[in-house]
Subunit: 198 residues, 2 copies
Amino acid sequence: MTKDKTREALLEHGTRLILEQGYNHTGVLAILQAAGVPKGSFYHYFRNKEEFGLSVLQRYFDQHMANVERFLSDASKPPLLRLRQCFEFYVDYFQKHDCRWGCLLGNLSQELADQSPAFRAQLGELIGKWTSRVADCLKEARDRGEVAQNLDPLRTAEFCVNSWEGALLAMKAVKDLRPLHTFLAFFFDRLCAKSIQG
Amino acid sequence: MTKDKTREALLEHGTRLILEQGYNHTGVLAILQAAGVPKGSFYHYFRNKEEFGLSVLQRYFDQHMANVERFLSDASKPPLLRLRQCFEFYVDYFQKHDCRWGCLLGNLSQELADQSPAFRAQLGELIGKWTSRVADCLKEARDRGEVAQNLDPLRTAEFCVNSWEGALLAMKAVKDLRPLHTFLAFFFDRLCAKSIQG
């Protein structure tokens, strides 16, 4: 493998293992074995496990945001429908994957926010960026009269993102998509109120 | 220490350590040391670490539900206000504790639901009981005309509990009570809609 490919393989297998087992429970050796990379070469690519974990988180976020952007920038649809379809995409994803793993942003917030200032700072920044993108979409929906004028886009986006993360937690516990469908129904049909048939 | 007191000390210190570090990251030795209990005596009280963890979870839940019940059974106040004040009690609690730890039910759902069928089954059952108690309160609120007649109490309770757990995740990440206040504002003022001044 080239140097870039080796690094990418470590990040890819590390992401999967951390999603499955958590960060603390995932050893460097297990990551190297999963990626088929010789022992000892880990520290050619990453200073330590924390730097590796932060790189896993950043890569996961970049892929997530590319996905979010793909939905939210589709000007052919009304803004609220774009946002809903983005979450529906993830509902399909978790259906395919038997309600496992959840979201790495939520998982690492739970596991590491109290333990690592570096993870906490990065998680806060990344969740803030996602929330801000959702807020832009809600602002557009408000400007078009799709949601009530007195819904504050940023606070509504915070509630949306946080409630989604909570729904994912519940999904993992009950191994059923129902918490995600409940989120969609309450957030979009109740809270954002107006009909959004596309 | 008597046998019962030793068992209680192990559970109490175990709860704190698992809240701080997670279940996988907390070793039996660390629990024994924190509780000041001699090595080797752990297995007099618990068959294995999983049985211990399940006992920690049950004890945490029993305390949580005693607390929930204290608020929700107070017939001197309107039902929706009781529910709100129960969550406000926890907002004060997390303010005192610098936005750390979160809720053990949510934490272990995140950490163990994919790893342990025994934890998953117990988490599903306990979260179901809490949700059901919240649903009873919301049904009472609906019967008294405090919330819209078309709000389904059980699904609304599910959304409430899940969104609260999501707000706690965010609180841990940003180390700020804002996600909890946002939850209160959106769930009670927006979703449940009618004024609930007590």
